[in-house]
């Protein structure tokens, strides 16, 4: 269970997130849509303090953090309860695909190398990249890199898995394989929070769709409601544009 209360983020005079309240049930898949610059990515990045929120409380599982009094320990606990898939993959460039997945298990979770390696190989098999275990990121295609990025996040076993526009940096030919992998993750009842511009995918995978505009949540609901019967004029305009 994830609970967000009053989440606020300002960059200078601009309020990027405006007192957001939101809950996500365990195993729920939530997709966030909205135009560029409406705070979608910042929302995700504030949930694990890649961007430090100015106010609000975030609860993920047993971890609860108040932004205004967040200690280093709180931030680490929150990050360890979540995992993150980046738009630009952000694989560790000096580590192989296998080592990328092992890193969090060994360094952060304190697993033995042997145990972590076994888990990494399992995850690579699930992502269809067993043959690429010893490859460095530079030798992988964009689609393969992002699949390793998703594998790295899967292996952590976090309460909440976040995806920040995971297919936006990809050549069109690689988008399908990444979305396929996300569908497989969704089947495992993993709690997912996804920012994406892939409307068809959103419709298919989401339990709920969130439309953000101006740093606020404007509309929330099941995909058929938000995407097919939009209430707010801004959402209608947005859907016509991406339509």
């Amino acid at each position: 269970m994830i609970s967000i209360r009053g989440l606020t983020k300002r960059f200078g005079d601009t309020t990027v997130l405006d007192t957001i309240d939101f809950d996500i049930a365990a195993g729920e898949r939530v997709v966030i849509i909205g135009a560029s610059g409406t705070g979608k990515s910042t929302f995700l990045r504030c949930l694990n303090f890649l961007d430090r929120p100015d106010a609000g409380t975030i609860t993920v599982g047993d971890v609860s953090v108040d932004a205004q009094h967040a200690s280093k320990r709180d931030v680490l606990a929150l990050r360890r309860a979540t995992s993150f898939v980046f738009q630009n993959y952000a694989l560790f460039a000096h580590k192989t695909a296998k080592e990328n997945i092992m890193e969090a298990l060994v360094t952060v979770q304190g697993q033995s190398r042997q145990q972590a390696e076994q888990r990494a190989l399992e995850v690579l098999a699930e992502t269809g990249l067993a043959a690429k275990a010893e490859s460095y990121p530079a030798a992988l295609s964009g689609g393969q890199q992002q699949r390793v990025g998703i594998g790295r996040a899967m292996a952590i076993g976090a309460d909440l898995m976040m995806f920040d526009e995971p297919t936006s940096a990809l050549d069109p030919e690689w988008v399908g394989e990444v979305l396929d992998l996300m569908r497989r993750v969704a089947k495992q009842r993993q709690t997912m929070l996804i920012v994406t511009h892939e409307m068809q995918f959103a419709r298919e995978i989401a339990d709920r769709v969130v439309f953000m505009d101006g740093g606020r949540i404007v509309e929330v609901g099941p995909p058929e409601q938000v995407l097919d019967a939009p209430q707010d004029e801004r959402l209608r305009r947005f859907l016509r544009r991406v339509g």
Binding site: L50, L76, R80, A90, F92, A93, E103, T107, V108, Y136
Partner: protein, 224 residues
Amino acid sequence: MRALDLDYMVGLVPVILGYVPLTLFMAVAGMVCALILASLMAVERVIKVPVLDWLVMLFISFFRGTPLLVQLFLFYYGLPQVFSLLAQINGVTAAIMGLTLHFSAYMAEAIRAAIIGVDRSQWEAAQSIGMTQTQMMRRIVLPQAARIAAPTLVNYFIDMIKGTSLAFTLGVTEMMGAAQKEAAGSFLYFEAFLVVALIYWAMVELLSQGQKVLETHLNKAYAR
């Protein structure tokens, strides 16, 4: 103009080569200490610890702003007059300490630039998996910074090898000191110093070959 005394030079080579281990010892010890000190200072300069940051900047400013020879003299001849504890220090130790402090100041700046040069996404990925700042630096940022800084650091190591010749001025008989003593007996100064120069040159050339191997190793993850 007289002819070079080649026989004398050939005979001198093994004598000077006998001092290569001492030169290498000073250079390697100085390099290892300087790398540790420089890395600590570089990390500090990136994360900026209050007060400490000011001290590190002062340190770097002083050791970059004064000649190595002056620093060595201050260290070996000057400080023991002020702190009697340092009177025990021998020339080799003083030279290693001097080289360490001097080169760490330069290397700290090179490593700091390399740390900043590590792509932002690498830091964020490390944070996103819940690494502490120390884990992030040690496991993700510094190894990648090492690749960026390697050519510059090897240059400093070359400079440091040559810098060990200044230990001669602290009364240490190393390659340069040995040549000076030999020449004082034979009066063949040109030959003696030419042998020293050629041996230094050969050492640095060998090291440059090693640099290629090191860079290939550090770049292996980045080959497409």
